[in-house]
Amino acid sequence: MNTIVIDNLEFSWSIGASNLLTIPELKVAKGEHLFVHGSSGTGKSTLLNLISGVILPDSGTIELMGAQTSSINQRRRDKIRANHIGYIFQQFNLLPYLSVLQNVLMPLKFSKSRKLNAEKNHNSSEQAAIHWLNELNIPSKLHTAPIAKLSVGQQQRVAAARALIGSPDIIIADEPTSSLDQDNVENFMHTLIEESAIIDASIVFVSHDKTLKKYFDKDFELRVAK
């Protein structure tokens, strides 16, 4: 089964401009880990926006968990994103006014199915959050801390815990390691790949750093549009 199916996708940010993205076909199977690379400005982040259903392709279709996101309304796309996607940004992932634990719990607010998953697997939402924070090596004394107390590496790991909670089908990560030092990158990549494997989530991981390719089953390169 495929979690993501892209078919004949074309996209440009402004009407009349030449296409930023032209993707004839791209499939991600359940549990498959995809590495998307390409130099700056090739539209990697734009592709992730398209997959998440925040923006729509000019032509072609995107299927997410069997639903064609380009032909449903925005509210349902938001719902699908909440239920099936865990998202990790390059940096500044967390809401500064919530504690670490509250940040990790956020996705369960927007998705009933992820909340049910979390409760089924870990008895309660809180325990699920604690579980994932522990998996990502966040010391428990930091769980109730304000996020300003965390290092950048810790913040990225908390963001990963937030992406993993409630076992979504897809983890999307937009250069999550670019602000980490080498040791932290390795550590982060290993945990992310391992933990995603445990919940059998597909990964779409974007980076311009080709050395990260080794962690992935499959890779896809974006080139500057002609």
Binding site: V54, I55, Q74, R75, A82, F89, K109
Partner: protein
């Protein structure tokens, strides 16, 4: 953790701006409530001060001026009425009763009213209520004084206490009539009118303390003791004003004309109700503009709040993008900002109401000592309740503007975090 929690945590994260905005709104709402409270209470107090008096007699001056100094003890009389003229005029068939009033002295800032015991009989306030003695009795002797309720309360005077009146009006007195002390024989029940702030003595008492005075000055070297004064003729030479009741209302205008045409000295008679109406007429422009200004302050406050929220949106792009990435529907972004604006509105309203009570408490003392008007802590009247409701509803509605802007912003930004 619900939407309200997220909205409030987000706001708490920006607490300096939030607090300032809150105060801005609270001050604007407290201003209109307080202005209206003063307006309503002043009006009510004025309307309740005098009742049952058909005419006020006084030296010729502005009718408003006469009303203000004779009844409300605001301002001073520029001229007096000769006692003979008073007697002659009030002998008229049509006059049912007349109460002379002689002003000009004070005691610790409270005004002294020289009058007759008829004052206690005929003076009426608040739709026909008469004065009542709370303790003691009306004055009988020359050096007896009857205190208004607030005077006794504020100065802590008991029956039998001796007190000295001062010449002139004002807190820091010019000259004391310390050679002729008065003793407290009665205290009146509270009325909520300037009577509470007055000391009442007989006209003879008034003459007695001024017996060694001419034209407002003490005659040097002339010392007359209280005992000596009692032996002298204490018939008043002048009075300041007189309250007059007519046998029938119809004769009021006729008598008024007669007074105005009186040849021996320039006098006038006013109808208190009509003069008060004149006062309201004069005040209404001021009243309206004060309310209009207060309303503008509220509008300014609400616009200020909108500006604050709008200006904050740029810094909150990341917050919005994170929420969107988590699957937060764009409509909830609008909700978040509407909640925020509404939260400002509600807490601004509550704080504003508290602030209003605080202003009233402060202004009450001032109004009491300056004009004898007591401000109430009553619930706001219907108009003000509408203003408050309108304020609250608008505050929520105003949230839609930044809400829509944030919504648009979140659509164009997508999930791309640029900062």
């Amino acid at each position: 953790m619900n939407w309200f929690h997220i909205a409030s945590q987000s706001l708490l994260n920006r607490k300096t701006t939030a607090l300032l905005t809150l105060f801005m709104l609270a001050i604007s709402i407290s201003l209109i409530l307080t202005v209206d409270r003063i307006r309503v209470d002043t009006k009510e107090n004025f309307s309740n001060t005098l009742s049952g008096t058909d005419l006020i007699l006084g030296a010729r001056t502005g009718s408003l001026n006469l009303l203000l100094y004779s009844v409300f003890r605001i301002g001073n009389a520029s001229n007096n009425i000769g006692w003979a003229s008073y007697l002659e005029l009030t002998e008229n068939e049509a006059v049912a009763w007349a109460v002379p009033i002689s002003l000009g002295d004070s005691h610790k800032g409270y005004k002294v009213v020289g009058t007759t015991t008829d004052y206690f009989k005929y003076y009426q306030f608040s739709r026909g209520q008469s004065l009542e003695i709370y303790q003691g009795k009306a004055f009988e002797n020359v050096f007896d004084v009857v205190l208004g309720y607030q005077v006794a309360k504020k100065l802590g005077y008991q029956l039998g206490e001796q007190l000295v009146l001062s010449h002139g009006i004002g807190n820091t007195s010019f000259k004391e009539h310390d050679d002729k002390p008065f003793s407290v024989v009665g205290i009146l029940k509270p009325t909520g009118t300037p009577v509470d702030q007055s000391l009442h003595i007989s006209l003879e008492g008034m003459s007695a303390i001024h017996i060694n005075w001419r034209n407002g000055f003490e005659i040097p070297g002339m010392n007359i003791t209280a005992e000596q004064a009692l032996q002298m003729d204490l018939t008043p030479k002048t009075i300041t004003a007189a309250l007059i009741g007519m046998k029938s209302r119809i004769q009021t205008f006729q008598f008024q004309r007669m007074v105005n045409d009186y040849r021996n000295e320039p006098l006038m008679a006013i109808i208190p109700g009509a003069t008060l109406a004149e006062l309201w007429q004069m005040m209404s422009i001021a009243e309206q503009s004060l309310l209009a200004i207060s309303a503008m302050v509220i509008v300014t406050g609400l616009l200020g709040m909108m500006t604050v929220i709008l200006a904050g949106l740029n810094e909150r792009r990341r917050e919005m993008a994170i929420l969107r990435a988590l699957g937060c529907p764009a409509s909830n972004i609008v909700l978040l900002l509407v909640l925020e604006a509404g939260f400002y509105g509600l807490s601004g309203l509550l704080l504003g109401y508290g602030l209003h009570l605080f202003w009233v408490a402060i202004a009450s003392n001032l109004m009491m000592s300056l004009y004898g008007i007591e401000l109430s802590m009553n619930l706001p009247n219907l108009t003000m309740l509408w203003v408050m409701t309108g304020f609250l509803v608008s505050s929520f509605l105003i949230g839609i503007v930044p809400g829509i802007k944030a919504y648009r912003q979140s659509l164009t930004d997508g999930l791309t975090l640029r900062t």
